[in-house]
Structure formats: C-alpha cells, structure tokens
C-alpha cells in the first residue's frame, strides 16, 4: 500500500527505501512541522533505524530538500507541459491552472510541506528551489504577457496577475482535504474558469 503510493509519488526515486523515507518525512513534517521532527521519528515512521536513514539522506535537511525539489519539479513539469502543448493563451492557461490546482488538491500533504517549510531549507538548497519557483512564475507570466499583447487577455499588471493565479492554486493545499466535496479534477476546472475571468479572457 505505502510502497505503491510512494512509487506513484516519486517514480524517479530509487530505491524503494528512499521513497519510503520521503513518505515518512512528508507525513511527519506535515503533522508536527519540520523543526519538531527528528530523524529518529522519520526512521521510526518508515519502520527503519536512524542509521538506515543516513544511508539515503545525510541529514534531515537533505530529506526535506529531496521532497521540496521533487514537488517543485513536478509542478514545473505541469506548467511546461501546458506551455509546450497549447499555443492559444486562453486554452494554455485553462490547462495549466486545471493541472496546477488538481496537483495541489491531490497532493495536499506534500504540497503543504513544499510550500510552508521553505525557510527550513539550507541556503544552497533554498537557492535551487527558488530557481524552480522563479521558472514557474516566469512561464505563467510569459503566457499572460503574450496573451495580453495579442488581445486574448486584458491585464493591468501581468506580474501581479501571475502571482495571483499561482497563489490561488497553492492555497488549495492549505484547505483541501479528502473530505472536500469536489474532486481535484473538478476543482481544477472550476478554478480555471475563475482564473480566465480574472485575466479578462475574451469569450470567458
């Protein structure tokens, strides 16, 4: 059960033991916060010894970094996919927001750790993650800017608009739970309509 979930969450991470530790890390950090969690807690939650944890991650910070980088890479991949696949700015934003929102709903526990524990990352690791965040924001801003220039959107300030679009998606992780009445996909669709209006999209 846990094994197949971790493979779904981090298909690129090998071996399975490393994935199991990442899953235990996510659950522990989300429950008690990064600072209050020890490597012993995490190893225990994964059914392993602290020594076994260090084989895969040299420190608690390294584990947080693996979780955070992977989360940012996954959301960047969604954004890149929409940009590469869809030329029309309106349809591009529609796909991008639907996927981005659905990810933050479906992966809300991971997303909370990814979004709220940034300050716990060591300086160099934070720089890597910040670069990924900048790239996500840059791509969204570019679609909005180009769409505005071409008349697809009417936006006063593409920078603020891009931030608001991403903000709406990120905040889903804070409030979404398994008890929420909408599926991640349905929520993604509803939010993409709201965003298109926010951008003053033609015909939206």
């Amino acid at each position: 059960m846990t094994m197949s979930l971790s493979a779904e969450l981090w298909p690129d991470v090998q071996p399975e033991t490393a994935r199991r530790l990442m899953l235990a890390g996510v659950e522990s950090f989300a429950r008690r916060g990064y600072h209050a969690t020890t490597t012993r807690d995490i190893a225990g939650a994964a059914g392993m010894s602290p020594a076994a944890l260090y084989v895969h991650f040299p420190s608690k910070a390294a584990l947080l970094f693996a979780i955070s980088r992977s989360g940012h890479e996954q959301t960047l991949a969604l954004v890149r996919n929409a940009v590469a696949k869809v030329q029309d700015p309106v349809e591009c934003i529609r796909l991008l927001v639907a996927d981005f929102v659905a990810w933050h709903a479906r992966r809300h526990t991971i997303a909370r750790v990814v979004q709220y524990e940034l300050n716990a990352l060591p300086e160099q690791e934070l720089e890597v993650v910040t670069e990924l965040r900048r790239e996500i924001e840059r791509l969204v801003r570019e679609v909005i800017t180009e769409g505005s220039a071409g008349g697809a959107f009417t936006v006063a300030d593409p920078r603020t608009a891009a931030r608001a679009v991403l903000s709406l998606g990120v905040d889903v992780a804070r409030w979404y739970s398994e008890r929420s009445r909408q599926t991640p996909e349905a929520l993604g669709k509803e939010y993409s309509e709201l965003v298109l209006r926010m951008l003053g999209a033609r015909a939206a």
Copy 2:
C-alpha cells in the same frame, strides 16, 4: 518600540506583559513552528521567566489560541465592517477584499501563525476558531449570492467563488514580505479588481 507594536496589534489585550508574550509567541511560532517552540523560548524572547508566562497563559496552547482567536476576530471585523457599511455588492466586495488582503500583507507574520497552525489548537479552542472562520466565509458567500441574484455578479457556484476570494487573500501572508514591491494597500486595491473580474462584476 516592541511595546507600541504590540499595543497596535492587540489594542484590546491587557496588560502590556500579555501582549509582549503574544508578540514573542508569534515570532517564535513563525520562525520554528509551534511544536518546536517551548514556553521557555517564548518567555525568554519576551525577556521574562517561564513562571511569568504562566501568570498570563496557562499553556503554550492557550497562547496560540489567544493569537489565533484575535487574528480571526480582526479579519471577521473587517468583513463585517464592509458588509455593514456598503450596500452595493460590487463596492462591498471591493472594500472587503482590499481590507482583507491588506491585513494579510501588513500582518503577514501573525497571519501565517493564524492560518498554518490551526491543527495545533486543542479541540475546543479549534471549534471556537472554526466558528469564526465559518462566519467569515458565510458573510462573503452571502454578498456574492445576493449580488448574483441581483445581477451584480455572474457566478456559477458562490461557495467555490467565496472560497477562492478568501484563498487569494490568505495566501498573501505566505509570500508577502517587507521587501515586496507593493504596499499592503496598493496590493489590496489590485486584488480587489482581480476579484471583481473573477465574480463577473458588471462594469468591472
């Protein structure tokens, strides 16, 4: 300096020592998370003994509750004020969002504790805070529902729309900092325009 800030943040809390502890609590919880912070840390940050802390707050959870309740009461007051003062739904939402967003920007450190440490509240205290949150959401939903009925807004689902409106405001606390290029007030105004579009406001 700290004294006047705490008086500005919590004008209703007496004596000043209690406010000083709340400020130290906010700073400690925001920096290390609730679970990793001890009452000793907080007392120390306030320049007091742990025993002096217990005179005002029986536990760390009681201190968190005081911070959380006050934050929710302050944002509820903003929402109530807009609803009471402005009849026109479009202008009401404009004021409400501007104030709500500006509060989350200006008070971003408090707001982070208020929004991200909910799960650390004991059950009964969480219920009180949840009631305040429901009331905030209910009021916003009501303005949107009435505005939709009267033709001021075009909204498919007032519940999702209300959540998205509040979500945009809350998430400001996550990314806003003193280095942000907009003042809280300017950001509030920009966001209120974005929200009015999102709600399909007439003439917006």
